[in-house]
């Protein structure tokens, strides 16, 4: 058994930590994250409030935990939604080739002209800012990314002998895509999904910070930071914790993705 790469191990530890905390928040948080108590605002860390309280007396740990859950949910939905559309488009492009492939790839190019923030801005201008719009915007930018990765990997598999054999046996392009292509490119897609998960967490935080994502009273690391920014003379510590949480989560998924790629594609690992 080969030793697992260090980035994979560290990434796995960090991801388990974040996901574990997010899961735990479903059943337990030290306090209710939304309960305000003006009498205990800006409380320092104590046995009661491990990291103290914010300007409205809300427990910081409870908020961070609830925010972790929101962050994971947003990233999961965005990557699943954008990813599955992208993978479907990529498979389609690869299976049909010709003008369909060209068309899909041109569309993907077009998608790259819109960073998530621009898309979120348009949606917010039209529908008003909301977490749903943020999720849609992040999903949208995932489509071209997954479409490209899928098409590139799928095109390689289409040249394999067993695919040729399946075609000779009269199987249709879609059946082959489902039974032969998809299972063989799953690893590449999972690697990409892990990395995009990290990107999505970062995007959600930025959008929420800018007011285009999570709206009060929903907890979000990004929103906590934008509130903390106005209080940095009074309570600078409030601007530290949410940022650290973002870094841990993004770093975790990023390392995990790199590690997974090293494991599934040793050729690439050596080249780096």
């Amino acid at each position: 058994m080969r030793r697992l790469p260090a980035n994979f191990l560290l990434g796995a530890v960090l991801v388990s930590l974040v996901v574990g905390v997010a899961a735990l928040s479903l059943i337990w948080t030290p306090h209710d994250p939304q309960t305000m108590s003006i009498s205990t605002k800006f409380a320092p860390p104590s046995a009661e409030h491990w990291l103290g309280t914010d300007q409205l007396g809300r427990d910081v740990v409870a908020q961070l935990m609830a925010a972790a859950r929101n962050s994971m949910t947003v990233a999961l939905v965005a990557v699943l939604l954008g990813g599955s559309i992208g993978v479907a488009l990529g498979l389609l492009a690869s299976a049909l080739g010709g003008w369909v492939e060209d068309g899909v790839m041109r569309l993907a190019d077009l998608g790259f002209a819109f960073p998530a923030l621009l898309f979120a801005i348009m949606l917010a201008a039209v529908f008003g800012p909301s977490l749903t719009n943020a999720v849609l915007a992040i999903s949208f930018i995932n489509i071209p990314i997954f479409a490209r990765v899928t098409r590139a990997s799928a095109n390689q598999i289409w040249t394999r002998d067993y695919v040729a054999a399946a075609r000779a046996a009269g199987r249709g392009r879609f059946a082959i895509s489902r039974d032969h292509i998809l299972p063989n490119i799953a690893a590449a897609i999972i690697v990409q999904a892990t990395i995009e998960f990290a990107v999505a967490i970062l995007a959600e935080a930025a959008l929420s910070y800018l007011g285009l994502g999570a709206q009060p009273p929903a907890s979000s690391w990004g929103r906590m930071l934008s509130e903390a920014q106005t209080l940095m003379y009074l309570a600078p510590q409030l601007a530290i914790y949410p940022g650290l949480c973002i870094v841990v989560a993004v770093l975790g998924f990023g390392l995990l993705g790199d590690g997974l790629r090293d494991i599934t594609d040793p050729r690439l690992a050596r080249a780096r």
Binding site: L110, F112, F114, M122, A125, G222, L251
Partner: protein, 314 residues
């Protein structure tokens, strides 16, 4: 060569057109009635009708699209609904701010990323390499706006060396530059994290090539080989990433302007969203997307400048 230029330019123009269609569609078709979006549910029917008339909403969609593009090409983006001045005026007032920030950010990014990346490659497998790789891994995970807040807390709140935000204009150049330092650093640090990695791996790739051995055999120093021979050859992938990063940089300026309260286009976008000023948002989104597309177009052309082999093929 001419054919290459023609094809690339055609592709560029078509992409811009497609982008404008997307922007127009999202901003005009999705909302159903933009006038209602702008004025809100409780607007009177008269006010709505007046606004529709003013925005030209009564014309068919295609006509509206064509006239939007046609006018935009002549620098006319309509009238801002909230500021009640031409959008083009708003843009030209704030463009210098955004451009200064983007250019400064890009320059600092290039200097930082290239030197860190090349150093790491030269130190391949040793402490310096690990250090740079660790920092860049971290840098990729740090959100620019959080880094900004930390920088402000340290350099503005605690040490009081630099202003925490705002921009008083170029009348006092020293003050202006001082208020740009933190935003630039925040923008550049995060950007250079990605670029330093690309520079490193690209340089490592080049260092394996035969001509590096030739250079060494001619008695050139490591330093000279790295900067004069390896770096130029490593540039092609670096330039690709720089082009792609331009999108991130543009997004970055929008964020950073909002963190530091800088009166640029990024701030204008958010004011316009808050004011439901659809024509302004539409113009700005189009402008930003056009910048991203243009950056990628320029990168395509740059390849040819960097690599004489491509000139021959193109």
């Amino acid at each position: 060569m001419a054919y290459f230029l023609f094809r690339r330019t055609l592709g560029f123009v078509l992409t811009l057109l497609a982008v404008s269609v997307v922007v127009f569609a999202v901003m005009n078709v999705l909302p159903g009635d933009p006038a209602l979006t702008i004025l809100g549910m409780d607007a009177s029917e008269d006010a709505l009708a007046a606004l529709r008339e003013q925005l030209g909403l009564n014309a068919p969609l295609v006509t509206r699209y064509v006239s939007w593009v046609w006018n935009a090409l002549q620098g006319d983006f309509g009238i801002s609904h909230s500021f009640r001045v031409p959008v083009s005026e708003l843009i030209s007032e704030r463009l210098p701010m955004t451009i200064s920030l983007a250019v400064a950010g890009m320059l600092v990014t290039l200097v930082l990323a290239l030197s860190l990346g090349i150093t790491a490659a030269a130190q391949h497998g040793r402490a310096g390499d690990w250090g740079v790789m660790f920092l860049s891994q971290l840098g990729i995970a740090v959100p620019a706006f959080w880094l900004s807040i930390l920088l402000v807390m340290l350099f503005a709140v605690k040490l009081r060396w630099l202003p925490p935000g705002g921009f008083a204009g170029w009348d006092d150049p020293v003050a202006a530059l001082r208020s740009l330092i933190l935003p630039t650093v925040a923008l550049a640090l995060v950007q250079s994290a990605v670029l330093a990695r690309v520079t490193r791996s690209s340089a490592l790739e080049v260092m394996r090539q035969d001509f590096v051995r030739t250079a060494r055999a001619s008695g050139l120093s490591h330093r000279r080989i790295l900067w004069r021979h390896v770096l130029p050859n490593a540039l092609v992938p670096i330039v690709t990433i720089v082009g792609m990063q331009f999108a991130a940089l543009v997004t970055g300026t929008i964020v950073i302007e909002n963190v530091f309260y800088l009166p640029g286009l990024g701030r204008l976008i958010f004011q316009s969203i808050a004011n439901r000023d659809l024509p302004t948002v539409q113009a700005l989104v189009m402008l930003f997307a056009a910048i991203v597309v243009t950056a990628n177009f320029v990168v395509d052309l740059l390849y040819v400048v960097i690599d004489p082999r491509l000139k021959a093929r193109a």
